[in-house]
Symmetry: C2
Subunit: 223 residues, 2 copies
């Protein structure tokens, strides 16, 4: 796994150099403590001391493993986005054979991944406003997904299944943004939100109408 000490960027000096192994358990203990505590109270109310004590070490020792509290969350986020990438992976291959099913699969898999780590996702959404590292990582990940969707839309237009219209990139951004915000509201449960069991179908409907102008996109004549 990627080392956690990424936040300051300038100095990867701090922390355990590869070769030894004693400290690994402490690192995972911190991570586990963070994920557990995130289920109980918001990130802002968890102190470094809480994390350290939860992992059986003192506060200064925490800094041996992570440069700051946010870096823990960043590592957690990294895991989740990797899992989401893996889950999404091949959802859009052979799109032409059954577009509706493929798009639904994409959305459903993201939903499952995020829903399975909602505490982490929610916490990241919260600190994204104040932490540049989290913001950057999330922007990177989103950019990948936007590009994948953009390419898929262009593919559908090329085979004549989807009409021309908005630039594919803008459409991809808008749809991905919608998903992000709708999931946030659904998982956080504050403000107007779509019920969790409906959210995939609601999002799917908007995606299909925005891309194809119909909820039953045509399959490819061949195949």
């Amino acid at each position: 796994m990627t080392p956690a000490r990424t936040s300051t960027g300038t100095a990867p000096t701090r922390g355990r150099r590869p070769g030894r192994s004693t400290g690994d358990d402490r690192e995972v203990a911190i991570l586990a403590t963070a994920e557990r505590l995130l289920g109980q109270r918001p990130f802002g109310e968890i102190s470094i001391d809480d994390l350290a004590r939860g992992a059986g070490i003192s506060r200064p020792t925490f800094y041996f493993y992570f440069p700051a509290k946010d870096a823990v969350l960043l590592t957690l986020l990294d895991r989740v986005t990797e899992e989401a990438d893996a889950a999404a992976g091949d959802a859009l291959v052979r799109l032409a054979e059954d577009p509706r099913a493929r798009w639904r699969e994409l959305i459903a898999r993201f939903h499952a991944t995020f829903g399975g780590h909602r505490d982490v996702v929610l916490a990241c959404a919260q600190v994204r406003g104040t932490n540049a590292e989290v913001r950057r990582l999330w922007a990177e990940v989103l950019e990948r997904w936007v590009r994948a969707v953009e390419a898929a839309i262009e593919g559908e237009r090329a085979r004549g299944a989807a009409p021309d219209g908005l630039p594919a990139r803008d459409l991809a951004i808008a749809l991905n943004s919608m998903n992000e915000r709708v999931w946030y509201a659904t998982f956080a449960g504050d403000g107007p939100a779509v019920a969790e069991r409906d959210v995939v179908d609601v999002l799917l409907d908007v995606w299909l109408t925005a891309i194809y102008r119909t909820t039953t996109p045509p399959v490819s004549p061949s195949a």
Copy 2:
């Protein structure tokens, strides 16, 4: 205007009782300082001391006017949402006469209002994660807008202009959520974002296709 001392909720005792006027300038000075500083650095990096000194008072005196730093932002947000409400106001009346123009007007007016106060909007989005008051106020406002859009969609379905489909409320939530997130990205300028001059048209396109399945909704036969 509404007094700012709303955060604790239990005790409106604190602060200047109506009748005198000396303190009003201080209050507006704090607000003005906050909005000015927000244009320079994020809310989290502005201390109460900064606000107080900017308004020409000491830190303890700040607490005479506002119960906490967040309350200042809350007051600022209140202004912006009121302005947005006023701007949006009658955009959806006579929808049937020219649906595309009316929807566009709604979106464009919100865009103009938020864009005119982007520093405040951005700051609120950031603290929403950590501040329950801001979260509640935003949820309330959003709920009003969702209801208005929901009613408009149902109206369009009733007159046969829009096909049935998703529950109108879910659709309204999804579309409003999309706007919120897309605007945030556009104004913040981090991560994948739609260019500011295109954003109204991009959002409009998704709204129209999601509601009508066409970008040129039919006008009412009468009128």
